[in-house]
Subunit: 367 residues, 3 copies
């Protein structure tokens, strides 16, 4: 009855590991794979990381993921002697929050570089939540991030990325495919950025205007990279906070982040800026809410630049009962033509995701 | 039975809103008024924002108020091309904490510029606490702050403030009156600044020496403006923390901030300073305690300057039962002549405030 | 029945106080002694300062201690006109955590300079925890720290320390003895620094590999002194966090820091570094666990320097029941020769400390 104690504590020694679920074993097994760079990190979740029901904010997790990604990709891009640089977040792929994390849990964050193009780095980050009293571990999150190395001397100059070595040739081929796909998508989303959230006086209950919210933040030194630009993770954490307020105002229950659509970081945000993060509900299904979040930066001192849209993204939230089960969500009341169009667009994204998930499930059931 | 859902989420689009209580309607109605600048901000209250009973610290609220004021006035002062500047807090008018805010509540902070003189800006900030589960909103706080624009290149140079446009001429007239009044009061308080809190060995219970307390803080980068000077809100938060310790040591119950007297910021505090914040009780009524707080700055490195008094203020605290009702407060034991004099002065302020409040109530009852 | 209300609130006025336990009186009495420098600080313990059971982290306390020490020694080293400097932490003597502190308690930190050599300052810091509702105070911690003044203009230049005046000649003599002892010990520990924690796949329960953990931290501006080097207190807080995760993973209960062995800070850590803090269990007695913690700094951008070992230390943790009583600890399973050797070394330290404590107790019982 010797029980194996599955862990994955290791230093970044050049040798790295990937996790694959193994039939019949609840905690994941570790399989040795030779990649170039790897990183592991543990942190105890604190009350300030969580909502009042004790569930860790999706934004806290996104911030940890981005921190790990920024460190590993900056380290990699500086691994060959040359111009010193900092890796800046360019894009986060859509990610699902698979199970809630709670105060007192240990978050285990592991990151590895899975692809490099000439000017960008793909990082995959896994987050496991570990109940430190029972030892139980659960996959919380699996994210893919893209970074671009910017010169420390001239932040507008993108440097070249040292190539990584792949364990199999297929890994490189798959990476290249992901790279091309995201490149295409980034171009498409650039267009959505003109939209603005207008104020509404005396909105009816369950309308868009009734739950829309905004938050301001003065960018301080602790929010920034060595360049003096805001960390992508800081921005995502604030976006999740606004999305959470919108969701809670709509359904007035305990809400948690279920997923985040791909986020593209087109414009950098500089130290000293004021950022306004605004969110509005776009779509509700039976048990989920989609919230669109905009980030606008206001240079406001010492800058000729005008206010500009820095980031936008869709967050999906669910409402949870005290037992942690998803609750029905009141339907969003859409009034204007724009709201109706956005609701239909949201429904499209919802059905597409649902369909994709069923496709991804199939190979597993056929194994 | 269509119920209106009162909200005030809006972006700063140049059009702004004022709130007026309307007879018979519990949540405030929104009335459209054309002012120049407006700003709104939501934030969920976290455990670290509150005391152990779950009541949000007055200092947390003061810090949010000041942040909103600093952003809106800096934005305004930079709205006309000219020398870039940062608005520095010069004075906060006396403010009452009308109802306690709790962990999990959303603080809705709205700020607008209500008057400009040649070299200063008056900002009014309202804080509503919103119970996100019931949707109930209550006015927590209404504050008036005065800012002065300091040049980024030369922090000792006060710049000119672009004038705002008033919806009615009367608004300008009333603003000018408030401006003259506060100018006079600032001169008066400058004199109180020589006082020092002396150590007491083995003090008797309920004496001044028994509860007096002090706190030190090394000014770090996140405490500071772009100038490298401490944000007024950071100072006020630390002052409230010391006042809270003094009050709790005196009555050994759950205590909350009831009001803060006008605070004048005569001297700036620079990054790298050590500040000592000390507090002592000056007066107790049946159900309230007055605490005087001093802030002393110690340049201590790389500065020829001596330790100096930067700010001083009076905080009023009440003691709350588990049901949130005010409890009787043990009477302060005053021993020395100075303590007796300060007690009488505090009684004077207490009676004056009580009288003022009754005057302000009258017009409402006559309407 | 007049009860004395023991407090020690005082400003740093040049006159200072030492605490001596007095027979028959539970809270410590205050005795007036003339030392040169003194400092007092109060802070309420917040949820983020504590673990999920409400016990304040040893790391939080170490950080407060170091902050007080850094302020008082920097102030002292700049007290005579000359080259401006910042005092950098060189060493913390072994310290015991005598009683747990809880959320809502007020930490009373008092610091005084007790010895100066030509180039270093010894600071003694006492921490009392005060239950603000009952007024009860308990000694939590008594620490001795050594600082070295580094020039602000050239951080590699150690400046001279202005001498302090001693109340009795014996105090100077005893200080010199402590100074010589720690100097010797610092040389010895420099050798241990080559060790590395290797990854373990599928470790057995209760083995070293099963609980070993690591944490990464990107050094931000708030972590740093005016020099741009990490505060010693920030490093110690992170070390305690990793040690706590290792201990909780081993025994899966509520764990608290019982003591920290002497820590030497041989190498500075610069702003912008990534630090990896790793911990592994080395020894268990019936009711305690010893965890070895390493801090490695990775300059990673704009620096020719390689990763280097900055600090290492031993933390002792105990496991507490809900009533706060120490629980038995599962024995550590040691496998390799190195693990067995480290276990024996740990046992040596454990027995030595136990013996020392008995010696220190004797004079008290003979009095």
């Amino acid at each position: 009855s010797k029980r194996h104690c599955e862990t994955h504590q290791l230093l970044s020694t050049g040798r790295t590991f990937s996790e694959f679920p193994t039939a019949g074993s609840d905690p994941p097994q570790l399989v040795d794979v030779k990649y170039l760079s790897f990183l592991i990190h543990c942190r105890i979740m604190r009350p300030d990381d969580a909502n009042i029901a004790g569930n860790v904010h999706g934004g806290t997790i996104l911030k940890m993921i981005e921190e790990a990604g920024a460190i590993i990709s900056t380290r990699h891009c500086n691994s060959q002697s040359g111009e010193p640089c900092v890796a800046a977040l360019a894009r986060v792929e859509r990610t699902d929050f698979l199970s809630p994390m709670c105060i007192g849990d240990v978050a285990n964050v592991s990151a590895e570089i899975t692809y490099t193009s000439k000017h960008s780095v793909e990082v995959q980050v896994n987050v496991l939540s570990e109940n430190i009293l029972t030892g139980a571990k659960r996959m919380t999150n699996r994210a893919t991030l893209w970074y671009v190395p910017l010169s420390l001397k001239n932040v507008d100059k993108v440097l070249e990325v040292p190539p990584i070595q792949y364990a199999w040739k297929e890994l490189e081929e798959e990476g290249r495919k992901r790279y091309e796909e995201q490149k295409l998508e980034r171009l498409v989303t650039k267009e959505r950025n003109g939209d603005i959230i207008f104020p509404v006086i005396n909105p009816e209950p369950y309308t868009v205007g009734c739950s829309q919210s905004s938050l301001i933040h003065l960018v301080g030194p602790s929010d920034c990279t060595l360049h003096g630009f805001v960390h992508g993770g800081v921005t995502m954490k604030l976006m999740d906070e606004v999305a959470g307020i919108v969701a809670a105002r709509h359904c007035k229950t305990n809400v948690v982040t279920a997923s985040v659509d791909a986020i593209n970081f087109h414009e950098k945000i500089k130290k000293g800026c004021v950022i306004t993060i605004s969110g509005r509900m776009t779509f509700t299904s039976n048990k989920s809410m989609e919230i669109e979040v905009f980030v606008d930066a206001d240079p406001f001192v010492d800058e000729p630049k005008e206010r500009y849209r820095a980031v936008s993204a869709f967050f999906t939230y669910v409402s949870l009962s005290k037992e942690g089960k998803p609750l029905p969500v009141p339907q969003l009341v859409v009034e204007s033509e724009d709201e109706k169009r956005r609701f239909e667009d949201g429904k499209g994204r919802y059905l597409q995701t649902k369909a994709k998930r069923q496709v991804q499930m199939q190979p597993l059931t056929q194994q």
